[in-house]
Symmetry: C2
Subunit: 230 residues, 2 copies
């Protein structure tokens, strides 16, 4: 059995949950509020961030990148056509580039700020940084969002999936990040048709369903969030 | 032939150069000042960061993480005992966790600031942000350095190499980052004996020699930088 320590609106955790569902890996989820810096979390990951996975009595597998590679190394070979990592080294490099792009750059410049300000801070005690969102931070994140959406629009307008002809980890990484902003109504879909059509395809996958059912206490999603034909 | 677009005092670029030397990959280096945002660089990597590798007429391989995996996938099998990625998925995850730790966390909190303020800004025109280092930034980086060194001291005090019994990509990532700060005399070795002994071992490898010979114009390294018994 694999245990995933996660937080529901952490995009990197959502990314790993999508992989687990796509690869059919039996697992249990442990909710972790990483800002509490629980001793057990720090013992597994001195960096204190999520996600962390533990398989049976094995050592902790720390961070979305290492977990992706671990799951692909231990389960990918059995997926056949459904494997989320291409075979050719060049295509693998492109997949990994885009996974890093979305989980790091998109996260740092856009989604991390939106989620922190508008969701995490609702759940954090004031002493640990909870409270009202800072509008200056949101303004910068929203400006950056437009640039990132143009790149996603370009990729989805020129390729079938983000990294090429087939769905890969890159699509799940981008969609996991976008899903958190989409909950908040922060994605400018109207200006980005190709991106919207691509996201509707990813969002319609059975692996996505559990994510779409989760809600933030006291803040329901925008109406289009759960709508597969938004 | 593999071409690496790099900057000599970029830790991530040094990391890739160490891998190329350890794996015996014939290559040529192209010096890139990434702050110039040269069109050809942006066409290869819309993020505009280094390193970028191109093999023959293949597509660009972007970023230290994807390049590491690419080189290991295409050359690792032929390295036998000298392979820098362990065989077991658990050990591979630990290697990747540490590579990310050093190339991202250590870079973002410590080394990136030191290198940017004290080296890059010497080489950058004023209009692009060049000039004197900001002492407030250096102060924070130096305070963070002490925490990171304690972690390296802990790892090297309890393990033969950073990720376990054998040298891995993790050692090269950490040493590449440290080497840039060491050039500047910014590493508190005196308080960290195990780390110092470990670094002396990495620094003595033939793959390290070309890095130790490079200098910043107008700013020679501290005397111990090139000394293998520092």
């Amino acid at each position: 059995m694999l245990t995933l320590y996660h937080y529901p609106f952490s995009p990197a955790c959502r990314f790993v949950r999508l992989i687990l569902a796509e690869y059919g890996v039996r697992h249990e989820l442990v909710l972790e509020r990483h800002w509490e810096r629980r001793k057990q979390l720090l013992a597994m990951n001195p960096g204190g961030f999520l996600p962390v996975a533990v398989e049976n009595d094995g050592p902790p597998i720390v961070g979305a990148g290492p977990i992706l590679e671990y799951l692909d190394e231990t389960r990918g070979y059995a997926q056949g056509e459904k494997r989320l990592m291409p075979d050719h080294p060049d295509r693998r490099a492109e997949t990994r580039r885009l996974v890093e792009w979305f989980l790091q750059k998109f996260e740092d410049e856009v989604i991390g700020h939106l989620v922190h300000e508008r969701i995490y801070k609702l759940d954090m005690p004031t002493a640990l940084g909870g409270g009202a969102p800072e509008s200056a931070v949101l303004r910068v994140a929203r400006a950056n969002m437009r640039h990132h959406m143009r790149y996603i629009e370009y990729l989805t307008g020129t390729r079938n999936w983000l990294a090429g002809d087939h769905i890969t980890f890159a699509d799940l990484a981008a969609a996991a990040e976008l899903s958190c902003a989409d909950y908040l109504g922060e994605v400018p879909w109207a200006e980005n048709d190709h991106a919207k059509t691509w996201y509707a395809r990813v969002k319609s996958r059975p692996s996505f369903r559990p994510l779409l059912g989760e809600t933030v206490r006291g803040m329901p999603p925008v109406p289009s969030y759960q709508d597969l034909d938004f």
